[in-house]
């Protein structure tokens, strides 16, 4: 199928590039779509590496004794697992990946506000990732992804810890650059006629995310620099032997790292708000409430960090303040969940992979949210802090939440990104395996934590062995579940059915151009036909015609 490219409005577009060539994905490209895909593919590779590390952890925990790997190396393995999954998979995938690919397309822009800065942000994550990986040759950091001093200062893996700090500084810088870029892009590059309240909810989510990134990440950078000084040149910022205070580090660390959770999940909330309406054929329920709740989560999210420190010896009044703030986060999060459920209610649910993963997201994230409310209560937290209950909680949020949402987004936008459809049967297999594996792995961990199993241990009380075996089996199912996805994605990318411009009959702007879009996104100017979520019988006929016309005028005729 050859495409004859005839720009309908060749107003000054003399030599507009019409096609993205494969090798451009390996260059310092400034095209937001290429950068988006670079982020997604790179981070997915790191997801697989992090997954291998997780499997090693679960294999070790299949028995109560420390008998598979050296206990010191075990600590390195879960440290690297956490670091990779957070900083090299979820954060870059949801902000750098989906954010870059979608934000300009959704607001009718040709690119991000600062394309070169965007490319620099991506190319910072490559050395960061390689550095972190290189530490496997000389002993990786082993003090947990939290790197609490004095353990991280007194560590045997001196070099590994230093490299760890350096790569966190690099990905942090990358994050800040991307955050600035998104904020400016969303604020000033919306197409004529699109005000804040008619832009897609994903853009609202990215705006809230970027504010968090810009306000919180520099504090982490500060903490990392000071920790590095303590580690390398013997200062005593956090080292109690020299009069330093390890609890100060915890404040600085969590001032970033709690908001980081929202950085990892707010864009995914946005993805869900985009995926549900076209696949359930109904408008999003409560647009303004969802938009405002993103901003509320952003604001509240900056004042809850010390709930990670309820057992750290913080003053009581502080614990009370952070308990109330934390519990309040449940309100805007609840608004989102209820609004999504109401969106589904009465729709015509097309139960294909994107919607299955989106509904899977709601059902599992809900559990993580509810256990989050339990943890928000200071006395409850004191018992389960640093136990497998917490491990269960944040995997329900970050796996059941973020990863399910990422998959929903991948199935939804794969046709747009590659111009090919994914295989639906293998998509369903992937969903079923992921869903079962997820609950089998992380569900029983709630019980482990409540019963008395601490986290980050290589050996544990034999009474917990049966439940740990279940978790390990679940983890292996999860590992296997990625195989159908990888094969499906790689095969479909090259040989899948060709995707039309708008396979889901969706209404957001990215579906008004070809699949994949041309380098400058639209031939001629994009046309705003309807609100992003004007689904439903009443609107259908009028919009359908206008949409067809818009697609015809703004992408190459076939």
């Amino acid at each position: 199928m050859t495409q004859i490219l005839t720009p309908t409005q060749s107003s000054g577009a003399i030599a507009e590039p019409q096609k993205t060539l494969w090798w451009e994905f390996f260059t310092f490209s400034v095209d937001h779509k290429i950068i988006g895909i670079q982020y997604l593919v790179t981070s997915f590779i790191f997801y697989l590496i992090g997954g291998v590390l997780a499997s090693i952890v679960r294999a070790e925990l299949a028995t109560p004794d420390s008998d598979l790997i050296d206990p010191a190396f075990y600590n390195s393995v879960f440290t690297m697992h956490g670091t990779i999954m957070i900083f090299l998979w979820i954060v870059p995938a949801v902000t750098g990946g989906f954010g870059n690919y979608l934000v300009p397309l959704m607001i009718g822009a040709r690119d991000m506000a600062f394309p070169r800065l965007n490319a620099i942000a991506f190319w910072l994550t490559i050395p960061a990732g390689l550095l972190l990986m290189s530490s496997f040759f000389f002993g990786p950091a082993s003090s947990g992804w939290t790197a609490y001093p004095p353990l991280s200062i007194l560590t045997n893996e001196h070099l590994g810890q230093a490299v760890w700090i350096l790569s966190i500084l690099l990905v942090g810088t990358s994050s800040i650059l991307a955050g600035v870029n998104f904020l400016v892009t969303i604020w000033s590059m919306r197409m004529p006629g699109m005000d804040l309240f008619s832009m897609p909810l994903f853009c609202w989510a990215m705006m809230a995310t970027s504010v968090l990134v810009i306000l919180a990440t520099p504090v982490l950078a500060g903490a990392m620099v000071l920790l590095g000084f303590d580690l390398l040149i013997g200062t005593n910022f956090f080292n109690p032997t020299g009069g330093g205070d390890p609890v100060v580090y915890q404040h600085l660390f969590w001032f970033y790292s709690h908001p980081a959770v929202y950085v990892m999940v707010l864009p995914v909330f946005g993805i869900i708000s985009e995926v549900l309406p076209p696949h359930s054929r109904k408008p999003i329920f409560g647009y303004k409430a969802i938009a405002y709740s993103s901003m509320m989560i952003c604001a509240l999210g900056l004042f809850v960090w010390a709930h990670h420190m309820f057992t750290s010896g913080t003053p009581d009044w502080l614990r009370i303040f952070f308990m109330v703030a934390t519990l309040l986060v449940a309100v805007p999060t609840g608004i989102k969940v209820f609004s999504w459920v109401a969106t589904l209610w009465g729709g015509k649910l097309r139960l294909e992979s994107p919607l299955l993963f989106a509904m899977g997201f709601i059902s599992t994230f809900l559990i993580g949210g509810l256990s989050g409310v339990m943890l928000g209560s200071a006395p409850i937290d004191i018992h389960v802090h640093d136990t497998y209950f917490v491990v269960a909680h944040f995997h329900y949020v970050l796996f059941g939440g973020s990863v399910f949402g990422i998959y929903a987004g991948l199935y939804h936008w794969f046709p747009k990104m590659t111009g090919r459809m994914l295989n639906e049967f293998w998509g369903k297999v992937h969903f079923v395996l992921t869903f079962i594996g997820m609950h089998l792995t992380f569900g029983p961990m709630h019980i482990l934590g409540l019963q008395g199993m601490p986290r980050r241990v290589a050996q544990y009380d034999p009474q917990f062995a049966p439940i740990n075996v279940i978790c390990t089996i679940g983890a292996f199912i999860l590992a296997i579940s990625t195989i159908p996805f990888i094969i499906n994605a790689v095969y479909s990318w090259f040989k899948g059915d060709l995707a039309p411009a708008n396979p889901w009959n969706a209404l957001t702007m990215e579906w008004t151009t070809s699949s994949p879009p041309i380098p400058h996104n639209w031939i001629g100017n994009p046309v705003l036909i309807s609100g992003p979520y004007d689904y439903g019988e009443e609107y259908k006929e009028t919009i359908k015609e206008a949409l067809k016309e818009a697609i015809a005028t703004s992408h190459p005729a076939t």
Partner: protein
Amino acid sequence: MKKNNLISIIVIIGLIIAASIWYGRNNHLLPVAAGDEALLYDGLFNTILAIAFGFFLVVEGVLIYSIVKFRHRKGDDTDGPAIHENLKLEIAWTAIPTVIVMWVAIYSFDVYTAMQGTQDMSGMAHGGMHQTVAQAENKTGNKKSGMPIANATLASANSEGVLMAGTLPAGMGDVVNIDVSAMQFAWIFNYPNEIATAELHVPVGKKIRLNMTAVDVLHAFWVPQLRIKQDVIPGRSTYLEFTPRVVGEYPVVCAELCGAYHGGMRTTMVIDTPEDYSTWLKEQQEVASNDPEAIVASRSTSQMSEQEYLAGKLAQIGDDHHMMHMSH
């Protein structure tokens, strides 16, 4: 038709509430409650769990119902109804969770204050809630302090787990003070008269206060059956207070990553009857006066676990604060 809908909604809500309450009372997720504080904890935990379970049933129920009822039928290419919002519904699902989480916050605060016992709350002196709770504590405390009733008896009378106005504060003389020292990868418990042990013994029914410091890195003292945990921090002292109520042996677990053998940093807490406790103390006293360096000599070396052996070794150098870095 409309009336039928209303009735079925009421019936469903009733069933969900009943199921939630049942689950809150019968979840068996927590281990035995061996301290007075644990009873308060369990009451709070079961209440919040019941609320969470209710929300869980509602949302998952709607999701499953939607999959069945609203799934796309073959040949139907129409859209759903164009419903954009419903202000009343949205106000309801904003207001109801707000009220619930604020209630949870107040309840948690109450339990927190009660569990903390005599912990210094001066920073919250203006909080009305705190003052009332504290006053109630004082009143009961004054009234009962002269009465020879063991705290454990009072506490078990309240085994429903209903919120009570704190455990009875024992007179200062009644508090058993134990100094705890944490190090990679062992706990040392120091009793008065130079007694140092690797196993924690406490008498049932008395208020226990652990004064804790760490030698090297962060640790955390946790007894799951007491539902309390506190980080142990080098360079500062932290403390925990609790009142044991069920005689038995319980694990002491380090809950803060402290190095390669963090998982092995475990020991036992024994809640003794007052008689057993004084016998045990006497034994330890003799051991200590015979050999001041002995830590676990109450058992023969062959019975000692690697853990205890390590603890004994470490204790000899434990006071030496230059030993900041144990390498393995």
